[in-house]
Protein backbone atom coordinates (compact mmCIF):
# COMPACT_ATOMS: atom_id res chain seq x y z
CA UNK A 1 0.00 0.00 0.00
CA UNK A 2 1.38 3.39 -0.99
CA UNK A 3 2.01 6.13 1.50
CA UNK A 4 -0.99 8.14 0.26
CA UNK A 5 -3.30 5.15 0.53
CA UNK A 6 -2.20 4.27 4.06
CA UNK A 7 -2.55 7.91 5.12
CA UNK A 8 -6.10 7.82 3.76
CA UNK A 9 -6.81 4.62 5.66
CA UNK A 10 -5.51 6.23 8.87
CA UNK A 11 -7.78 9.22 8.20
CA UNK A 12 -10.79 6.90 7.89
CA UNK A 13 -9.78 5.25 11.18
CA UNK A 14 -9.55 8.64 12.91
CA UNK A 15 -13.04 9.57 11.75
CA UNK A 16 -14.40 6.20 12.90
CA UNK A 17 -12.82 6.71 16.33
CA UNK A 18 -14.47 10.12 16.64
CA UNK A 19 -17.81 8.56 15.66
CA UNK A 20 -17.24 5.82 18.27
CA UNK A 21 -17.06 8.48 20.99
CA UNK A 22 -19.96 10.40 19.45
CA UNK A 23 -22.11 7.26 19.62
CA UNK A 24 -21.85 7.29 23.40
CA UNK A 25 -24.08 10.37 23.60
CA UNK A 26 -27.04 8.01 23.98
CA UNK A 27 -27.37 4.35 24.98
CA UNK A 28 -29.34 3.59 21.81
CA UNK A 29 -26.47 4.65 19.51
CA UNK A 30 -23.65 3.46 21.75
CA UNK A 31 -23.37 -0.11 20.48
CA UNK A 32 -23.05 1.08 16.89
CA UNK A 33 -20.39 3.53 18.08
CA UNK A 34 -18.38 0.75 19.68
CA UNK A 35 -18.62 -1.24 16.46
CA UNK A 36 -17.26 1.73 14.51
CA UNK A 37 -14.34 1.89 16.91
CA UNK A 38 -13.61 -1.78 16.22
CA UNK A 39 -13.80 -1.26 12.45
CA UNK A 40 -11.51 1.77 12.74
CA UNK A 41 -8.96 -0.28 14.63
CA UNK A 42 -9.18 -3.13 12.10
CA UNK A 43 -8.58 -0.70 9.21
CA UNK A 44 -5.58 0.81 11.01
CA UNK A 45 -4.05 -2.63 11.63
CA UNK A 46 -4.64 -3.85 8.07
CA UNK A 47 -3.26 -0.64 6.55
CA UNK A 48 -0.13 -0.98 8.66
CA UNK A 49 0.32 -4.62 7.69
CA UNK A 50 0.25 -3.53 4.04
CA UNK A 51 3.07 -1.00 4.51
CA UNK A 52 5.72 -1.53 1.80
CA UNK A 53 8.91 -3.18 3.08
CA UNK A 54 7.22 -5.39 5.69
CA UNK A 55 9.12 -8.67 5.97
CA UNK A 56 7.40 -12.03 6.11
CA UNK A 57 9.08 -12.94 9.41
CA UNK A 58 8.06 -9.63 10.89
CA UNK A 59 4.47 -10.08 9.80
CA UNK A 60 4.51 -13.52 11.41
CA UNK A 61 5.69 -11.99 14.68
CA UNK A 62 3.00 -9.30 14.49
CA UNK A 63 0.25 -11.85 13.96
CA UNK A 64 1.59 -13.96 16.82
CA UNK A 65 1.61 -10.90 19.10
CA UNK A 66 -1.91 -9.91 18.08
CA UNK A 67 -3.16 -13.47 18.63
CA UNK A 68 -1.53 -13.90 22.05
CA UNK A 69 -2.50 -10.45 23.33
CA UNK A 70 -5.93 -10.56 21.75
CA UNK A 71 -6.67 -13.96 23.28
CA UNK A 72 -5.66 -12.80 26.75
CA UNK A 73 -7.66 -9.59 26.35
CA UNK A 74 -10.78 -11.41 25.18
CA UNK A 75 -10.68 -13.89 28.06
CA UNK A 76 -10.21 -11.11 30.64
CA UNK A 77 -12.99 -8.99 29.14
CA UNK A 78 -15.44 -11.88 29.28
CA UNK A 79 -14.58 -13.03 32.79
CA UNK A 80 -14.28 -9.74 34.65
CA UNK A 81 -16.96 -8.88 37.22
CA UNK A 82 -18.53 -5.48 36.73
CA UNK A 83 -17.67 -4.51 40.31
CA UNK A 84 -13.98 -4.95 39.41
CA UNK A 85 -14.24 -2.74 36.34
CA UNK A 86 -12.16 0.13 37.82
CA UNK A 87 -9.12 -2.05 38.51
CA UNK A 88 -9.43 -3.62 35.06
CA UNK A 89 -9.35 -0.18 33.44
CA UNK A 90 -6.36 0.78 35.59
CA UNK A 91 -4.56 -2.40 34.51
CA UNK A 92 -5.32 -1.68 30.85
CA UNK A 93 -3.94 1.85 31.20
CA UNK A 94 -0.71 0.43 32.52
CA UNK A 95 -0.41 -1.71 29.37
CA UNK A 96 -0.81 1.31 27.08
CA UNK A 97 1.87 3.10 29.09
CA UNK A 98 4.28 0.18 28.86
CA UNK A 99 3.56 -0.27 25.14
CA UNK A 100 4.44 3.41 24.63
CA UNK A 101 7.76 2.84 26.41
CA UNK A 102 8.52 -0.16 24.15
CA UNK A 103 7.60 1.69 20.95
CA UNK A 104 9.84 4.58 22.00
CA UNK A 105 12.64 2.05 22.59
CA UNK A 106 12.02 0.47 19.18
CA UNK A 107 12.22 3.93 17.59
CA UNK A 108 15.52 4.51 19.39
CA UNK A 109 17.09 1.26 18.14
CA UNK A 110 15.61 1.36 14.62
CA UNK A 111 14.92 5.02 13.76
CA UNK A 112 15.16 4.28 10.04
CA UNK A 113 11.89 2.29 10.31
CA UNK A 114 10.13 5.57 11.06
CA UNK A 115 12.24 7.84 8.88
CA UNK A 116 13.62 9.84 11.78
CA UNK A 117 17.33 9.20 11.22
CA UNK A 118 19.79 6.37 11.71
CA UNK A 119 20.89 4.72 14.98
CA UNK A 120 22.98 7.20 16.96
CA UNK A 121 22.03 9.95 14.55
CA UNK A 122 18.38 10.74 15.21
CA UNK A 123 16.89 14.17 14.47
CA UNK A 124 16.92 16.42 17.53
CA UNK A 125 13.24 17.17 17.31
CA UNK A 126 12.36 13.47 17.14
CA UNK A 127 14.47 12.91 20.26
CA UNK A 128 12.42 15.52 22.14
CA UNK A 129 9.17 13.85 21.06
CA UNK A 130 10.54 10.39 21.80
CA UNK A 131 11.62 11.28 25.32
CA UNK A 132 8.27 12.94 26.06
CA UNK A 133 6.37 9.86 24.82
CA UNK A 134 8.71 7.67 26.86
CA UNK A 135 8.36 9.71 30.07
CA UNK A 136 4.56 10.02 29.90
CA UNK A 137 4.24 6.34 28.99
CA UNK A 138 6.45 5.24 31.89
CA UNK A 139 4.59 7.47 34.38
CA UNK A 140 1.27 6.09 33.09
CA UNK A 141 2.56 2.54 33.55
CA UNK A 142 3.81 2.71 37.13
CA UNK A 143 1.04 5.08 38.23
CA UNK A 144 -1.60 2.72 36.85
CA UNK A 145 0.02 -0.27 38.53
CA UNK A 146 -0.32 1.50 41.91
CA UNK A 147 -3.91 2.56 41.10
CA UNK A 148 -4.67 -1.06 40.17
CA UNK A 149 -3.15 -2.39 43.42
CA UNK A 150 -5.12 0.11 45.51
CA UNK A 151 -8.42 -0.53 43.72
CA UNK A 152 -7.97 -4.29 43.79
CA UNK A 153 -7.20 -4.30 47.51
CA UNK A 154 -3.71 -5.72 46.95
CA UNK A 155 -2.39 -2.62 48.65
CA UNK A 156 -3.96 -0.49 51.37
CA UNK A 157 -6.04 2.36 50.02
CA UNK A 158 -4.69 4.61 52.75
CA UNK A 159 -2.53 7.47 51.48
CA UNK A 160 1.19 6.87 51.96
CA UNK A 161 2.73 10.10 53.17
CA UNK A 162 6.24 10.99 54.25
CA UNK A 163 8.13 14.16 54.99
CA UNK A 164 9.42 16.10 52.02
CA UNK A 165 7.31 14.05 49.61
CA UNK A 166 6.27 16.93 47.39
CA UNK A 167 9.77 18.35 47.44
CA UNK A 168 11.16 14.98 46.33
CA UNK A 169 8.61 14.71 43.52
CA UNK A 170 9.35 18.24 42.35
CA UNK A 171 13.09 17.53 42.43
CA UNK A 172 12.62 14.32 40.43
CA UNK A 173 10.47 16.20 37.93
CA UNK A 174 13.16 18.83 37.41
CA UNK A 175 15.84 16.14 37.16
CA UNK A 176 13.72 14.39 34.52
CA UNK A 177 13.55 17.55 32.41
CA UNK A 178 17.30 18.10 32.76
CA UNK A 179 17.99 14.50 31.68
CA UNK A 180 15.71 14.91 28.66
CA UNK A 181 17.66 18.07 27.77
CA UNK A 182 20.98 16.20 27.98
CA UNK A 183 19.50 13.24 26.07
CA UNK A 184 18.53 15.50 23.17
CA UNK A 185 21.75 17.55 23.27
CA UNK A 186 23.97 14.44 23.19
CA UNK A 187 22.15 12.82 20.26
CA UNK A 188 20.17 10.19 22.18
CA UNK A 189 22.53 7.74 23.93
CA UNK A 190 20.74 4.51 24.89
CA UNK A 191 22.00 4.55 28.49
CA UNK A 192 20.37 7.90 29.12
CA UNK A 193 17.16 6.66 27.47
CA UNK A 194 16.81 3.90 30.05
CA UNK A 195 17.77 6.25 32.88
CA UNK A 196 14.87 8.52 31.83
CA UNK A 197 12.62 5.44 31.74
CA UNK A 198 13.60 4.35 35.28
CA UNK A 199 13.24 7.87 36.67
CA UNK A 200 9.78 8.18 35.08
CA UNK A 201 8.71 4.82 36.51
CA UNK A 202 9.78 6.04 39.96
CA UNK A 203 7.97 9.34 39.51
CA UNK A 204 4.71 7.63 38.45
CA UNK A 205 4.93 5.42 41.54
CA UNK A 206 5.63 8.33 43.90
CA UNK A 207 2.90 10.51 42.39
CA UNK A 208 0.12 7.99 43.05
CA UNK A 209 1.02 6.49 46.47
CA UNK A 210 -0.09 9.57 48.50
CA UNK A 211 -3.55 9.52 46.91
CA UNK A 212 -6.26 7.81 48.98
CA UNK A 213 -8.34 4.86 47.77
CA UNK A 214 -11.57 6.82 47.41
CA UNK A 215 -9.86 9.42 45.22
CA UNK A 216 -9.01 6.70 42.72
CA UNK A 217 -11.86 7.72 40.34
CA UNK A 218 -9.95 10.93 39.68
CA UNK A 219 -6.66 9.05 39.36
CA UNK A 220 -8.10 6.51 36.93
CA UNK A 221 -9.53 9.32 34.76
CA UNK A 222 -6.25 11.18 34.91
CA UNK A 223 -4.24 8.11 33.90
CA UNK A 224 -6.73 7.60 31.07
CA UNK A 225 -5.77 11.09 29.93
CA UNK A 226 -2.03 10.34 30.32
CA UNK A 227 -2.31 7.20 28.21
CA UNK A 228 -3.73 9.41 25.45
CA UNK A 229 -0.94 11.96 25.71
CA UNK A 230 1.60 9.12 25.63
CA UNK A 231 0.07 7.81 22.39
CA UNK A 232 0.14 11.33 20.93
CA UNK A 233 3.79 11.72 21.97
CA UNK A 234 4.68 8.52 20.15
CA UNK A 235 2.60 9.74 17.21
CA UNK A 236 4.75 12.86 16.98
CA UNK A 237 7.92 10.76 17.25
CA UNK A 238 7.05 8.48 14.36
CA UNK A 239 5.09 11.14 12.44
CA UNK A 240 1.81 9.22 12.41
CA UNK A 241 -1.41 11.22 12.12
CA UNK A 242 -3.69 8.50 13.48
CA UNK A 243 -1.73 8.22 16.73
CA UNK A 244 -1.73 11.98 17.15
CA UNK A 245 -5.47 12.37 16.55
CA UNK A 246 -6.42 9.40 18.73
CA UNK A 247 -4.04 10.47 21.48
CA UNK A 248 -5.62 13.92 21.51
CA UNK A 249 -9.14 12.44 21.68
CA UNK A 250 -8.25 10.13 24.57
CA UNK A 251 -6.25 12.81 26.35
CA UNK A 252 -9.16 15.25 26.16
CA UNK A 253 -11.62 12.61 27.29
CA UNK A 254 -9.62 11.66 30.38
CA UNK A 255 -9.07 15.32 31.26
CA UNK A 256 -12.81 16.05 31.09
CA UNK A 257 -13.64 13.02 33.24
CA UNK A 258 -11.05 14.11 35.83
CA UNK A 259 -12.62 17.57 35.86
CA UNK A 260 -16.13 16.14 36.35
CA UNK A 261 -14.93 13.92 39.20
CA UNK A 262 -13.14 16.81 40.93
CA UNK A 263 -16.20 19.02 40.59
CA UNK A 264 -18.30 16.22 42.11
CA UNK A 265 -16.11 16.45 45.22
CA UNK A 266 -15.62 20.22 45.07
CA UNK A 267 -11.87 19.77 45.08
CA UNK A 268 -9.24 21.08 42.75
CA UNK A 269 -7.22 18.60 40.74
CA UNK A 270 -4.13 19.88 42.54
CA UNK A 271 -5.71 19.14 45.92
CA UNK A 272 -6.39 15.54 44.81
CA UNK A 273 -2.92 15.09 43.32
CA UNK A 274 -1.13 16.37 46.40
CA UNK A 275 -2.99 13.61 48.17
CA UNK A 276 -3.43 12.66 51.80
CA UNK A 277 -7.13 13.61 51.86
CA UNK A 278 -8.47 10.49 53.65
CA UNK A 279 -5.67 10.44 56.22
CA UNK A 280 -5.96 14.05 57.40
CA UNK A 281 -9.73 14.07 57.63
CA UNK A 282 -9.79 10.70 59.40
CA UNK A 283 -7.34 11.97 62.00
CA UNK A 284 -9.39 15.10 62.66
CA UNK A 285 -12.55 13.05 63.13
CA UNK A 286 -10.85 10.66 65.53
CA UNK A 287 -9.57 13.56 67.60
CA UNK A 288 -12.95 15.29 67.68
CA UNK A 289 -14.93 12.09 68.17
CA UNK A 290 -14.87 11.37 71.93
CA UNK A 291 -15.60 14.98 72.91
CA UNK A 292 -19.06 14.84 71.37
CA UNK A 293 -21.84 13.26 73.41
CA UNK A 294 -23.75 10.47 71.71
CA UNK A 295 -26.82 11.92 70.03
CA UNK A 296 -30.06 10.01 69.74
CA UNK A 297 -31.01 8.53 66.38
CA UNK A 298 -34.21 6.88 65.31
CA UNK A 299 -33.73 3.36 64.08
CA UNK A 300 -36.28 0.98 62.67
CA UNK A 301 -36.74 -2.55 61.39
CA UNK A 302 -36.97 -3.57 57.73
CA UNK A 303 -40.66 -4.34 58.37
CA UNK A 304 -41.28 -0.73 59.46
CA UNK A 305 -39.55 0.46 56.31
CA UNK A 306 -41.58 -1.91 54.13
CA UNK A 307 -44.81 -0.64 55.69
CA UNK A 308 -43.96 3.00 55.00
CA UNK A 309 -42.73 2.28 51.48
CA UNK A 310 -45.84 0.29 50.62
CA UNK A 311 -47.89 3.45 51.12
CA UNK A 312 -45.45 5.72 49.31
CA UNK A 313 -46.28 7.36 46.00
CA UNK A 314 -42.72 8.21 45.04
CA UNK A 315 -39.54 6.48 46.13
CA UNK A 316 -36.02 7.60 45.21
CA UNK A 317 -33.20 5.13 45.73
CA UNK A 318 -29.75 6.59 46.39
CA UNK A 319 -27.11 3.91 45.81
CA UNK A 320 -23.45 4.31 46.75
CA UNK A 321 -20.36 2.18 46.47
CA UNK A 322 -21.43 0.30 49.62
CA UNK A 323 -24.29 -1.20 47.65
CA UNK A 324 -21.85 -2.63 45.11
CA UNK A 325 -19.59 -3.99 47.86
CA UNK A 326 -22.57 -5.78 49.43
CA UNK A 327 -23.63 -6.99 45.94
CA UNK A 328 -27.11 -5.67 46.74
CA UNK A 329 -28.00 -4.18 43.32
CA UNK A 330 -30.07 -7.20 42.24
CA UNK A 331 -32.20 -7.27 45.39
CA UNK A 332 -32.58 -3.47 45.30
CA UNK A 333 -34.10 -3.85 41.85
CA UNK A 334 -36.45 -6.57 43.17
CA UNK A 335 -37.57 -4.15 45.86
CA UNK A 336 -38.12 -1.45 43.25
CA UNK A 337 -40.18 -3.84 41.09
CA UNK A 338 -42.42 -4.71 44.05
CA UNK A 339 -42.92 -1.04 44.88
CA UNK A 340 -43.81 -0.31 41.26
CA UNK A 341 -46.43 -3.05 41.47
CA UNK A 342 -47.88 -1.24 44.50
CA UNK A 343 -48.27 1.80 42.27
CA UNK A 344 -45.26 3.84 43.37
CA UNK A 345 -42.89 5.57 41.00
CA UNK A 346 -39.33 4.49 41.70
CA UNK A 347 -36.27 6.37 40.56
CA UNK A 348 -32.54 6.17 41.19
CA UNK A 349 -30.31 9.12 42.03
CA UNK A 350 -26.62 8.89 41.13
CA UNK A 351 -23.98 11.22 42.49
CA UNK A 352 -21.08 11.92 40.09
CA UNK A 353 -18.58 10.29 42.47
CA UNK A 354 -20.69 7.26 43.43
CA UNK A 355 -18.71 4.13 42.64
CA UNK A 356 -15.01 3.79 41.95
CA UNK A 357 -14.84 5.19 38.43
CA UNK A 358 -16.93 7.61 36.38
CA UNK A 359 -20.29 6.03 35.53
CA UNK A 360 -19.54 2.85 37.51
CA UNK A 361 -22.83 2.91 39.41
CA UNK A 362 -24.80 3.22 36.17
CA UNK A 363 -23.15 0.07 34.83
CA UNK A 364 -23.84 -1.84 38.05
CA UNK A 365 -27.52 -0.85 37.97
CA UNK A 366 -27.77 -1.69 34.28
CA UNK A 367 -26.27 -5.10 35.05
CA UNK A 368 -29.06 -5.64 37.60
CA UNK A 369 -31.56 -4.86 34.80
CA UNK A 370 -32.57 -1.46 36.10
CA UNK A 371 -33.98 0.45 33.09
CA UNK A 372 -31.66 3.36 32.31
CA UNK A 373 -34.65 5.73 32.02
CA UNK A 374 -35.16 5.33 35.80
CA UNK A 375 -31.59 6.37 36.61
CA UNK A 376 -30.92 10.09 37.00
CA UNK A 377 -27.95 12.35 37.53
CA UNK A 378 -27.68 14.81 40.41
CA UNK A 379 -28.89 18.01 38.68
CA UNK A 380 -31.79 16.16 37.15
CA UNK A 381 -33.13 14.48 40.28
CA UNK A 382 -32.42 17.01 43.03
CA UNK A 383 -35.62 19.07 42.53
CA UNK A 384 -37.64 15.83 42.82
CA UNK A 385 -36.65 14.95 46.39
CA UNK A 386 -39.13 17.52 47.75
CA UNK A 387 -41.97 15.54 46.15
CA UNK A 388 -40.65 12.16 47.24
CA UNK A 389 -42.26 10.23 50.07
CA UNK A 390 -39.23 8.07 50.66
CA UNK A 391 -35.50 8.39 49.96
CA UNK A 392 -33.78 5.01 50.34
CA UNK A 393 -30.06 5.62 50.88
CA UNK A 394 -28.04 2.45 50.49
CA UNK A 395 -24.26 2.43 50.77
CA UNK A 396 -23.91 6.19 50.30
CA UNK A 397 -23.07 8.68 53.03
CA UNK A 398 -20.98 11.80 52.40
CA UNK A 399 -22.83 12.59 49.15
CA UNK A 400 -26.04 13.13 51.17
CA UNK A 401 -24.55 15.17 54.02
CA UNK A 402 -26.26 18.57 54.32
CA UNK A 403 -23.14 19.85 56.13
CA UNK A 404 -21.67 20.28 52.64
CA UNK A 405 -24.10 23.18 52.25
CA UNK A 406 -24.21 24.66 55.74
CA UNK A 407 -21.01 23.94 57.66
CA UNK A 408 -18.13 26.03 56.36
CA UNK A 409 -15.64 24.20 58.59
CA UNK A 410 -16.54 20.78 57.16
CA UNK A 411 -13.95 19.17 54.87
CA UNK A 412 -16.73 18.43 52.40
CA UNK A 413 -18.11 22.00 52.41
CA UNK A 414 -19.13 23.06 48.91
CA UNK A 415 -19.44 19.54 47.53
CA UNK A 416 -22.64 19.14 45.51
CA UNK A 417 -24.96 16.76 47.39
CA UNK A 418 -28.14 14.87 46.73
CA UNK A 419 -30.93 16.67 48.63
CA UNK A 420 -32.32 13.52 50.28
CA UNK A 421 -33.20 15.50 53.43
CA UNK A 422 -36.10 17.08 51.53
CA UNK A 423 -37.91 13.75 51.20
CA UNK A 424 -40.71 13.05 53.71
CA UNK A 425 -38.91 10.01 55.10
CA UNK A 426 -35.26 9.08 54.69
CA UNK A 427 -34.13 5.48 55.21
CA UNK A 428 -30.43 5.04 55.77
CA UNK A 429 -29.15 1.49 55.32
CA UNK A 430 -25.88 1.29 57.21
CA UNK A 431 -23.84 -1.17 59.23
CA UNK A 432 -23.25 1.21 62.15
CA UNK A 433 -22.81 4.83 63.05
CA UNK A 434 -19.33 5.20 61.58
CA UNK A 435 -18.67 8.29 59.51
CA UNK A 436 -18.07 8.25 55.79
CA UNK A 437 -14.86 8.36 53.86
CA UNK A 438 -14.33 12.06 54.53
CA UNK A 439 -14.46 11.34 58.27
CA UNK A 440 -17.41 13.67 58.80
CA UNK A 441 -20.48 12.80 60.83
CA UNK A 442 -23.63 12.99 58.74
CA UNK A 443 -26.10 15.54 60.12
CA UNK A 444 -28.87 13.62 58.41
CA UNK A 445 -28.73 10.69 60.88
CA UNK A 446 -30.15 12.89 63.64
CA UNK A 447 -33.03 14.45 61.74
CA UNK A 448 -36.62 13.70 62.75
CA UNK A 449 -37.54 12.39 59.31
CA UNK A 450 -34.61 9.96 59.18
CA UNK A 451 -34.88 6.32 60.14
CA UNK A 452 -31.70 4.26 60.35
CA UNK A 453 -31.87 0.65 59.15
CA UNK A 454 -28.83 -0.95 60.71
CA UNK A 455 -27.37 -4.00 59.03
CA UNK A 456 -25.83 -5.36 55.85
CA UNK A 457 -27.18 -3.58 52.76
CA UNK A 458 -28.15 -6.80 51.01
CA UNK A 459 -29.74 -8.49 54.05
CA UNK A 460 -31.77 -5.43 55.05
CA UNK A 461 -33.09 -4.99 51.53
CA UNK A 462 -33.89 -8.71 51.30
CA UNK A 463 -35.93 -8.45 54.51
CA UNK A 464 -37.80 -5.48 53.07
CA UNK A 465 -38.54 -7.49 49.94
CA UNK A 466 -39.89 -10.37 52.05
CA UNK A 467 -42.06 -7.98 54.07
CA UNK A 468 -43.39 -6.39 50.87
CA UNK A 469 -44.30 -9.78 49.44
CA UNK A 470 -46.51 -10.62 52.44
Amino acid sequence: MSHTLSTLAYLVSSVLFILALKGLSHPSTSRRGNLMGMIGMAIAILATLATPGMRAGGIGLIIAGLAIGGGIGAVIANRIQMTSLPQLVAAFHSLVGLAAVFVAAAALYAPQSFGIGTPGNIHGQSLVEMSLGLAIGAITFSGSVIAFAKLDGRMSGAPILFKGQHLLNAALGVLLLVLIGIFVATGGPTGLFWLIAILSFALGFLLIIPIGGADMPVVVSMLNSYSGWAAAGIGFTIGNLLLIVTGALVGASGAILSYIMCKGMNRSILNVLLGGFGAEAGGAAAAGGPAQPARPVKSGSPEDAAYIMKNAGKVIIVPGYGMAVAQAQQVVREMADLLKKEGATVEYAIHPVAGRMPGHMNVLLAEANVPYDDVHELEEINPEFAEADVAYVIGANDVTNPAAKTDKTSPIYGMPILDVDRAKTVFFVKRGMSSGYAGVENELFFRDNTMMLFGDAKKVTQQIVQALQK
Binding site: T48, L49, G69, Y109, A232, V245, M357, G359
Partner: protein, 134 residues
Amino acid sequence: MNAEELALRAQAMAERAMALAMEARAAAGEAMPAIEHGAAAAEPFLLLLTIFLLACFVGYHVVWSVTPALHSPLMGVTNAISSVIVVGAMLATGLGESWLAQAFGFLAVTLAAVNIFGGFLVTRRMLAMFQRKG
Protein backbone atom coordinates in the same frame (compact mmCIF):
# COMPACT_ATOMS: atom_id res chain seq x y z
CA MET B 1 -18.20 57.28 -33.21
CA ASN B 2 -18.50 55.02 -36.20
CA ALA B 3 -18.33 51.26 -36.25
CA GLU B 4 -14.79 51.17 -37.57
CA GLU B 5 -13.47 53.33 -34.77
CA LEU B 6 -15.29 51.16 -32.22
CA ALA B 7 -13.77 47.99 -33.66
CA LEU B 8 -10.31 49.51 -33.47
CA ARG B 9 -10.79 50.51 -29.89
CA ALA B 10 -12.09 47.07 -28.99
CA GLN B 11 -9.06 45.51 -30.63
CA ALA B 12 -6.75 47.81 -28.71
CA MET B 13 -8.43 46.85 -25.46
CA ALA B 14 -8.25 43.16 -26.26
CA GLU B 15 -4.54 43.49 -26.99
CA ARG B 16 -3.99 45.28 -23.69
CA ALA B 17 -5.93 42.61 -21.80
CA MET B 18 -3.82 39.97 -23.48
CA ALA B 19 -0.64 41.75 -22.46
CA LEU B 20 -1.86 42.01 -18.87
CA ALA B 21 -2.70 38.32 -18.80
CA MET B 22 0.77 37.48 -20.06
CA GLU B 23 2.26 39.64 -17.35
CA ALA B 24 0.14 38.00 -14.67
CA ARG B 25 1.16 34.56 -15.87
CA ALA B 26 4.80 35.50 -15.76
CA ALA B 27 4.38 36.87 -12.24
CA ALA B 28 2.59 33.71 -11.13
CA GLY B 29 5.34 31.64 -12.69
CA GLU B 30 7.87 33.55 -10.66
CA ALA B 31 5.83 33.22 -7.49
CA MET B 32 5.16 29.49 -7.77
CA PRO B 33 8.61 28.22 -6.83
CA ALA B 34 8.60 30.67 -3.93
CA ILE B 35 5.26 29.26 -2.66
CA GLU B 36 6.42 25.70 -3.08
CA HIS B 37 9.59 26.49 -1.26
CA GLY B 38 7.60 28.09 1.57
CA ALA B 39 5.36 25.05 1.97
CA ALA B 40 8.32 22.74 2.09
CA ALA B 41 10.08 24.94 4.59
CA ALA B 42 7.03 25.09 6.89
CA GLU B 43 8.02 22.30 9.21
CA PRO B 44 5.98 19.10 9.04
CA PHE B 45 6.02 19.41 12.82
CA LEU B 46 3.80 22.50 12.61
CA LEU B 47 1.35 20.58 10.46
CA LEU B 48 1.26 17.75 12.99
CA LEU B 49 0.86 20.23 15.83
CA THR B 50 -2.05 21.87 14.02
CA ILE B 51 -3.76 18.52 13.59
CA PHE B 52 -3.07 17.66 17.23
CA LEU B 53 -4.61 20.88 18.55
CA LEU B 54 -7.65 20.58 16.29
CA ALA B 55 -8.13 16.98 17.43
CA CYS B 56 -8.00 18.18 21.06
CA PHE B 57 -10.89 20.53 20.31
CA VAL B 58 -12.85 17.80 18.55
CA GLY B 59 -12.25 15.49 21.53
CA TYR B 60 -13.32 18.19 23.96
CA HIS B 61 -16.64 18.77 22.21
CA VAL B 62 -17.42 15.15 21.46
CA VAL B 63 -16.69 14.00 25.01
CA TRP B 64 -18.88 16.67 26.61
CA SER B 65 -21.74 15.30 24.54
CA VAL B 66 -21.31 11.85 26.10
CA THR B 67 -24.09 11.12 28.58
CA PRO B 68 -22.76 10.72 32.16
CA ALA B 69 -24.48 7.35 32.41
CA LEU B 70 -22.03 6.03 29.80
CA HIS B 71 -18.83 7.39 31.31
CA SER B 72 -17.58 3.88 32.16
CA PRO B 73 -18.03 2.62 28.58
CA LEU B 74 -16.34 5.86 27.46
CA MET B 75 -13.28 4.86 29.46
CA GLY B 76 -13.45 1.39 27.93
CA VAL B 77 -13.53 2.75 24.38
CA THR B 78 -10.83 5.38 24.92
CA ASN B 79 -8.71 2.67 26.49
CA ALA B 80 -9.14 0.48 23.43
CA ILE B 81 -8.47 3.21 20.87
CA SER B 82 -5.43 4.59 22.71
CA SER B 83 -3.92 1.19 21.89
CA VAL B 84 -3.71 2.40 18.31
CA ILE B 85 -0.11 2.79 19.40
CA VAL B 86 0.00 -0.77 18.02
CA VAL B 87 0.63 0.87 14.61
CA GLY B 88 4.06 2.05 15.75
CA ALA B 89 4.78 -1.32 17.34
CA MET B 90 3.83 -3.15 14.13
CA LEU B 91 6.11 -0.99 11.99
CA ALA B 92 9.04 -1.68 14.31
CA THR B 93 8.32 -5.41 14.27
CA GLY B 94 7.51 -5.78 10.58
CA LEU B 95 10.26 -3.66 9.04
CA GLY B 96 12.80 -5.50 11.21
CA GLU B 97 15.67 -3.03 10.93
CA SER B 98 17.21 -4.26 14.18
CA TRP B 99 16.48 -7.37 16.24
CA LEU B 100 16.27 -5.31 19.43
CA ALA B 101 13.69 -2.96 17.90
CA GLN B 102 11.84 -6.02 16.63
CA ALA B 103 11.77 -7.54 20.12
CA PHE B 104 10.46 -4.32 21.69
CA GLY B 105 7.96 -4.01 18.86
CA PHE B 106 6.69 -7.55 19.42
CA LEU B 107 6.22 -6.93 23.16
CA ALA B 108 4.38 -3.69 22.43
CA VAL B 109 2.15 -5.39 19.83
CA THR B 110 1.21 -8.05 22.39
CA LEU B 111 0.46 -5.54 25.18
CA ALA B 112 -1.54 -3.29 22.88
CA ALA B 113 -3.50 -6.29 21.56
CA VAL B 114 -4.57 -7.21 25.12
CA ASN B 115 -5.92 -3.70 25.39
CA ILE B 116 -7.58 -3.56 21.99
CA PHE B 117 -9.51 -6.80 22.41
CA GLY B 118 -10.06 -6.37 26.14
CA GLY B 119 -11.16 -2.74 25.82
CA PHE B 120 -13.61 -3.17 22.97
CA LEU B 121 -15.08 -6.43 24.31
CA VAL B 122 -15.58 -5.22 27.86
CA THR B 123 -17.23 -2.08 26.46
CA ARG B 124 -19.50 -4.25 24.33
CA ARG B 125 -20.45 -6.20 27.46
CA MET B 126 -21.23 -3.01 29.34
CA LEU B 127 -23.26 -1.52 26.51
CA ALA B 128 -25.28 -4.71 26.08
CA MET B 129 -26.65 -4.03 29.58
CA PHE B 130 -27.90 -0.61 28.52
CA GLN B 131 -30.57 -2.03 26.20
CA ARG B 132 -34.06 -0.67 26.72
CA LYS B 133 -35.93 -3.38 28.62
CA GLY B 134 -39.49 -4.56 28.22
